[in-house]
Amino acid sequence: MIKNTLIDRRTCLKAAGASLALPLMETMGWAETAKGKEVKPPVRLGFMYMPHGVLQSEFWPTTPEGFLNSPPPALESLRPVLDQCLMMKGISGVPISPFNGAPHALELSTWLTAILPDAPTRNRVNIAISADQIMANYVGGLTSLPSLELATMPQTHKENQEGLHEAYYSHCSYRSPTQAVPAETNPRSVLNRLFGKSDKPGEIVPPDPLDRKMLDLVIGGARDLRKTLPQNDQHKLDEYLDSVRAVERRIASIEMRQKEAALEKAGVRSSKRHAADSPPIEIKIPDGDKRSEYMQVMCDLNVLAFQTDTTRVSTYIGSTPNGVSYPELGFTDAHHSQTHHNHKDEEKMRKVAAITKFNIDQYAYMVNKMSQLREGDGTLLDNCIMMWGSGLEDGAKHSRENLPFIIAGKGGGSINTGRFLDKTKGNQGDLLMTLLACAGVPIDRPIGIGTKEMSEMKG
């Protein structure tokens, strides 16, 4: 049994009695095993998205027995890590009535919320906190970044389906029912902000401690402004002040890491890392605009952020449902138009298969890499849960009965991998609840339409 020593950061600050006191990281996230001093790495959870569903025959294994040895064509690139993957058929998505004309505005926005937007206020963002943000609320305080949101495309697509707000089209993360979390699309800025302006990963440009204190004064000063504002405005202001506070906290956390690094240098063994752990991976930002290279560097950043425990939750919107094309595959037809093949047009079906494989290849690139990085007694992937999936089952029918998804990683031993469960019964909410439970997040209420945790997933 793992002894969970997660402590809320705020509790720690209160106990220390001073706002500047810095809690020691090792008491907070990296749990100790019951027996002795051995350190157990934390579980990290990542999501990667592709829109418009898949061709069933290309994606699902034919039999549970054949899963490992003769995987379906779309999964070819996952072959080296299939024993560390889990597939389950039978997870249904959220029924989208009354928004029947909005299959694409809802495939991404319901993906991690498992619920529909509020119908009367559909022209605003009003949905529910998403699973990744629930986890960020729980463990985000333990890392310098509560959560990481990445996307391949800018999230500015404009199209009104059923009068729904445009943001539903391109956002999967919701910090609160009314706040969509935008994703970062520029790998250079992710690298700079995560790891400082240096191409040497893990090396951080020291933050200015004065900045932290200055921000503290600015937040204090905003109190007077707050009083002069009507209630609606106060909410807006609070959202901003919360984000400034987050920056303050992040600077504090970087300062602490530096202290720890200094100790390490002086010969005090870090409590967190094993001597045998792989060094942080290197990031190379590609020059051209090849989609595969671009997606791979975003995947690398995700790996690096998990490897260095900069964050424990991530989402990567590999593409959004807005007519993306893949010139690299030798055709420019937009993804969406090809999915309407009516199961007859073989040319289109071939292109859909190629696009799906392309997306899974990038995901496979990421999880294969994670499986080669040593961490603790195993690999980085052993301590992660990386889910790839789509919010539609079949783009030609807009159906949502068997959502396609793949889970890679053992979640620190919480997930029993190497299996294909072909007759699962559950829905998107059940799946998300189970994933969070496997990641060690206590669930105090159902997520969306979820009603239960699925014990068949667990190890």
């Binding site: 970062e184 000063g221 807006k236």
Partner: protein
């Protein structure tokens, strides 16, 4: 029409101002005229709309079934509530298009009943209470933030490039992820590190023996005033002085301490948000914007940047809110080159050009779509928009015009490469009247196409929604799009013939008989806006069509003429879209009455663009705000 064109601009100002004064003040709570309209609306609602909806709609769209999320039982109880505006809009669109009730329903209204219903429902707006809407503080957009930094400190506006692009739409969204929230601090640090700012800080040299804290206080006051765009409170200054003390305690030199103060200003919500100058009396529900807020609202609308000294002076003297003053400021601001911001912020969004830069085109089929070409396309639309605005032309010129702006790259698409060469954009007269106006403009034609072919449907929807302001009902679920047609039967058909299959299905026909002809009328323009006589299949383009009302056309030129005749619809649509942009919110119930009044003045002035803008800027919802629900 021609009469007005001869009037000199100065005289025009006088006329517009006079018209402004003549504008009826109806809509007031104590206004008998408005009260009468309201009573009439209530009556026609009770006797007309209610029974119609109960008879034909609520069976599927009521408390029991709520198809498409529409519950008219709830809307009927409180028809004036802005929440239900979308319900009514959708009802109008569907009833008008004979889309609803569905043909297989037992009870189908007669044409007369439909007309009567539409007439009644038009009065619903009078059921709303007078309300300017809230003016919720909002963070400056990426563009506004960059421009503001440039105007205040002379730094490169591209320093904000890493911020995410905003999602514009009915409600405008500018949240930040935790990773991005750090950007504000990072950008502030970069601004302070710029040589321009360092130079400015090192010029601050207090006399020997001077009280440094007092000097810093003066600096803080002046910087905060400029940056917060309003008078500074003692509390504002006090916070900055605390930052100064913090810097000094940490042994920063004087310019260094001023630098930290500057950084503090740049991450303050007072800088990043447009905030009121002072607290307002809390007993009121609706109050006018104070002149400083108005200056910022106006400046960020017209220029996407901080108000200039003239606007600040007018705000200080308390005169800015006077309609005549506002109108003359609008004219001054339009004449200033910074008003291109109105195109970049609004025009490009209205015309759908925001994604043109990154949109994929088939590189084999359209090797012309280089970044130079895309930039030239965008600039053509921008310069054209600006010319209509600066030269105060009628908004009808957006549809019909005898000039455009080209450079050598773009001229190739027009087949005018002999007349125009070089990279610089210039004004060019057009002899071919199929061109001229946004419907024949490559940027728009390309933005409304697929990567490898045109889409008459997208173009048709675009014209109806963006140009004429009509609500196009969404395609019913489970209807196969063009791609899904049986490939053998359609193999030898032109795109038009294939698209016309819509008309063979009654569900599709109702809407497509309106949309498709417009798209067909533009089929002579290929997916990047070149003229062609044959489509991809080699079949001859047939651009002829008929619009509702029996108006027929044979060419894009004739199609444009038919659309240009609908000048009041064109102008109303543009006014509504620009008003929503100016208010940063979707229009709701009472706004419709506001627009009715604006349209009276705008029509009298021949739908001129400057009048559209100044009417919006002096309108009730732009100058007032609701502070309590």
């Amino acid at each position: 029409m021609t009469y007005f064109r001869k009037i000199r601009p100065a005289l025009l100002v006088a006329i517009t101002a006079a018209l402004g004064l003549l504008q009826p003040v109806s809509g007031q709570d104590d206004d008998p005229e408005f009260a009468a309209l309201q009573a009439d609306a209530q009556k026609s609602f009770k006797e007309g709309v209610g029974p119609f909806v109960k008879k034909y709609c609520t069976q599927c769209h009521g408390s029991k079934r709520k198809k498409s999320g529409l519950n008219f039982d709830a809307a009927l109880k409180n028809p004036g509530n802005p929440v239900y505006r979308k319900h009514w809009k959708q009802a109008v669109a569907s009833v008008k298009a004979f889309d609803m009730p569905p043909d297989d329903e037992d009870a189908i209204p007669t044409d007369g009943e439909r007309e009567q219903f539409l007439e009644w429902i038009a009065k619903i707006k009078f059921l709303s209470t007078k309300d300017p809407g809230p003016f919720v503080i909002r963070r400056l957009t990426k563009v506004e933030y960059g421009n503001t930094l440039e105007d205040l400190f002379g730094v490169d506006p591209k320093l904000t490039a890493d911020l995410p692009d905003e999602v514009f739409g009915q409600g405008y969204l500018n949240n930040l992820s935790s990773l991005q929230s750090e950007l504000f601090l990072e950008i502030a640090s970069e601004v302070v590190a710029q040589p321009e700012v360092q130079k400015m800080l090192s010029r601050e040299k207090p006399a020997k023996g001077a009280d440094l804290r007092e000097e810093a206080k003066k600096f803080a006051r002046s910087l905060a005033r400029k940056s917060f765009r309003r008078p500074v409170s003692d509390a504002d200054v006090e916070v900055l002085l605390q930052v100064f003390d913090l810097a000094r305690k940490n042994e920063l030199d004087y310019p260094g301490a001023l630098g930290l103060m500057t950084k503090a200003v740049l991450v303050s919500p007072q800088f990043l948000f447009i905030t009121p100058a002072k607290e307002v009396a809390s007993d009121k529900k609706i109050v006018p914007l104070d002149d400083f807020q108005l200056a910022s609202r106006l400046s960020y609308l017209m220029w996407s940047t901080v108000p200039d000294p003239e606007l600040m002076k007018l705000a200080e003297s308390g005169k800015l809110h006077e309609p005549a003053v506002l109108k003359s400021q609008v004219q001054r601001m339009i004449a200033d080159p910074r008003s291109r911001a109105l195109f970049d912020g609004f025009g490009a969004q209205w015309l759908g050009l925001n994604e043109l830069e990154t949109k994929t085109f088939d590189p084999d089929k359209f090797p012309q779509m280089t970044s130079e070409m895309r930039a030239a396309m965008y600039d053509e639309a921008r310069l054209f928009f600006e010319s209509i605005m600066r030269e105060n032309k009628s908004v009808v010129s957006f549809i019909e015009s005898d000039y455009t702006f080209l450079n050598g790259t773009l001229a190739a698409l027009y087949g005018m490469e002999k007349e125009v060469s070089g990279s610089e954009m210039r004004r060019v007269s057009l002899k071919d009247r199929n061109r001229g106006g946004v419907l024949g403009m490559p940027a728009i034609l390309a933005a409304t196409s697929f990567p490898n072919r045109t889409s008459p449907v997208i173009r048709g929807v675009w014209v109806l929604e963006q140009i004429l302001g009509e609500e196009v009902p969404p395609a019913p679920a489970n209807v196969p799009p063009l791609e899904k047609q049986d490939q053998k039967t359609v193999a030898n058909m032109t795109l038009r013939q294939r698209t016309e299959l819509h008309l063979s299905n009654p569900t599709c026909a109702n809407c497509h008989k309106v949309l498709d002809p417009i798209g067909f009328g533009l089929e002579n323009f290929d997916a990047i806006g070149r003229w062609r006589d044959q489509d991809d299949t080699g079949g001859a383009i047939d651009a002829a069509g008929e619009l509702p009302g029996g108006k027929t056309f044979e060419t894009p030129r004739e199609l444009k003429a038919i659309i240009a005749e609908r000048e009041s619809e064109l102008a109303r649509n543009l006014t509504e879209k620009l008003l929503a942009y100016a208010l940063c919110r979707p229009l709701e119930g009472y706004d419709e009455i506001v627009v009715d009044h604006l349209m009276e003045t705008i029509a009298k002035d021949d739908y001129r663009m400057q009048t559209v803008i100044s009417e919006i800027v002096t309108s009730y919802p732009f100058t007032q705000r609701r502070i309590k629900n």
